[in-house]
């Protein structure tokens, strides 16, 4: 155990940090269950009365299932397209000899560094001319702009971590590179591929700017956009907004709960190169 400040101080600080992390989420949940009238009291930490009126309104008047469906479809489709294509590219970058590899990687990185706002106008015009505005492909294509570089970056890292001699053994056994990719690399990199898919899905699910810019009506809004546009003309319907926020958080929370190891593996694959 490496040297560290005293355990008590650490424990207290840690507890404080964790509380700070979780409190807002708790509060979001608690407030969403408070009746409209009680929302304007900032006192009690525990809701005195619990009501589901906000959730009912959410699915009743606001038909919140539609944005959920849209988000699921767009995030899912993007992941399904991005990951396999990126995997092929990543294998080449990780294992095959080619000139200009570092230039390529730098290029991929540079593209992902580009602020999203910069490509909204041309994408808007392109999508408008292709009549893809307010459609599913009309969101998947823009989402690929950040999903592809991210997937390539992550998968290259994961492939590099695999021991080389397994692939060499397969080649001596007579397997072509593609066959080696299929029979040896992918099965062994499956956890990494899963991490990548999860992270891509999360980024797509949370994405706001493109969804805001390229969807035109409630039938294609994704969850972040739909929540954002709850804002009434006079007053923000906080009860429903918070209920929607809770709903929007549930799939994310489930993913995190189920796959926290995979998520951490994905986040750290590039950070700790041996």
């Amino acid at each position: 155990m490496s040297a560290r400040p005293s355990a008590v101080v650490l424990g207290a600080a840690g507890a404080l940090l964790l509380a700070a992390s979780l409190f807002p989420i708790y509060w979001m949940l608690a407030a969403s269950l408070m009746p409209e009238s009680r929302l304007f009291e900032s006192g009690p930490l525990l809701p005195a009365a619990v009501t589901f009126e906000h959730y009912r309104a959410l699915f009743g008047e606001r038909d919140f299932l539609v944005p959920i469906r849209n988000s699921l479809l767009v995030s899912g489709l993007t992941t399904i397209v991005a990951v396999p294509v990126a995997a092929l590219c990543a294998y080449a970058l990780a294992r095959l000899r080619m000139r200009g590899k570092s230039v390529l990687l730098a290029f991929v990185l540079a593209v992902s560094m580009f602020p999203q706002i910069s490509i909204v106008p041309p994408l808007y015009l392109i999508l408008r001319d292709l009549r893809l505005l307010n459609t599913y492909p009309g969101l998947v294509l823009p989402y690929l702009t950040f999903s592809m570089p991210l997937a390539i970056w992550l998968l290259t890292g994961f492939f590099r971590q695999l021991p080389r001699d397994l692939e060499e053994a397969a080649m001596l056994d007579g397997a072509t590179r593609i066959r080696t990719l299929r029979d040896v690399v992918l099965p062994l990199a499956a956890p990494g591929v899963a991490s990548t898919a999860i992270l891509i899905f999360l980024y797509c699910w949370n994405e706001f700017l493109f969804a805001l810019s390229f969807t035109l009506g409630p039938e294609r809004y994704t969850v972040p956009v739909a929540i954002m546009l709850f804002r009434g003309r006079y007053q923000v319907p906080w009860g429903e907004v918070l209920a929607a926020a809770v709903i929007a958080t549930i799939p994310v929370a489930l993913l995190v709960l189920a796959c926290q190891r995979r998520i951490v593996a994905g986040l750290t694959v590039g950070a700790t190169k041996g």
């Binding site: 490496s2 040297a3 964790l18 949370n206």
Partner: protein, 303 residues
């Protein structure tokens, strides 16, 4: 002796390009093309509300306009100030969180989940949440600040130009500290524990050992975390748009938001593109300077 690449190598390179092609094609199509168009647009006049003007070339005209535009200057200031405040905060808190996560033996999964949740939540949700908590009448945090006597009874956080930044910074720090913590935790876990033990045997107190041994060894991870965070902070959009909309007035408007308004609300594609290019240049210059400084520090300071 140099005959060029052997046939085996040539075949491998050919296969490599074949595998890279689809991904590269998609990126070129969906990312590079629009970026190029943005670059082109930034050098032209293109106002969608005034289509009869066409799209004449004006070179650096848009950028000159931006340089003289006080709103642009303010947005630039906001963006840089925001980055310089929130990133160090996130690094320090992230380090503290990482150290704590590292020393804990049991309950690691719980801690990891608790730490990851804020990061995984949609930015819009986080923004709305923090807005809610600082609302003058309903906000629980607004209430606490008032109860602690730090602010007056009818204080509206979102009316005050500086105070309105607090929820934005708080939301950003809350959301991304876990990300930093995880990066740093990975770095901590690669440090050989024997080094810390040797220091203890040598008589160093834990705090001193941490400062003189652990921290320097953690520098690569810290640098990576700082770089990622700075790049993201300079592109701030979602939080500002949702929490304050840039207000009061334009007091909390970062560059990306100003570009967005110019593009999507004022429909000045030429000028808005120039603003977007500025955001890119800001991040690019930063990345360049960072990599240079990094390279120098890693090759020069080899003690």
């Amino acid at each position: 002796m140099n005959r060029g690449p052997a046939p085996i190598e040539r075949d491998e390179t050919r296969l490599a390009w074949l595998l890279v092609a689809p991904a590269l094609g998609i990126i070129l199509l969906v990312a590079l093309a629009p970026i190029a168009v943005t670059g082109w647009e930034s050098l032209h006049v293109h106002d969608l509300r005034l289509p009869w003007l066409g799209t004449p070339f004006i070179g650096a005209g848009n950028f000159v306009e931006a340089a003289g535009d006080p709103r642009f200057g303010a947005a630039l200031l906001h963006t840089v100030a925001f980055a310089l405040i929130s990133v160090p905060l996130e690094l320090v808190l992230g380090l503290a969180l990482a150290v704590m996560m590292h020393s804990v033996v049991r309950g690691r999964a719980f801690i990891r989940v608790s730490a990851l949740l804020p990061w995984a939540i949609p930015t819009v949700v986080a923004a709305l949440l923090w807005r809610f908590m600082f609302e003058a009448r309903t906000g629980i945090l607004a209430g606490w600040f008032q109860a602690l006597g730090l602010v007056g009874p009818a204080f509206d956080w979102f009316v005050h130009p500086l105070a309105a930044w607090v929820p934005i910074i708080a939301a950003d720090v809350w959301k991304t500290t876990p990300f930093v913590a995880i990066l740093l935790l990975a770095g901590l876990e690669t440090i050989d524990p024997a080094l810390g033990e040797a220091a203890q045997v040598d008589g160093a107190k834990p705090a001193r050992a941490f400062l003189t041994i652990t921290l320097p060894l953690l520098t690569p991870a810290l640098v990576v975390a700082a770089a990622f965070r700075m790049l993201d902070a300079l592109r701030l959009f979602d939080l500002a748009y949702v929490i304050t909309g840039g207000g009061p007035g334009t007091a909390t408007e970062p560059l990306s938001l100003y570009a967005f308004i110019a593009l999507m609300q004022r429909l000045r594609f030429g000028y808005g593109s120039a603003l977007s290019v500025t955001v890119f240049l800001l991040t690019f210059v930063f990345a360049l300077v960072w990599v240079r400084a990094l390279g120098r520090s890693l090759t020069g300071d080899r003690s």
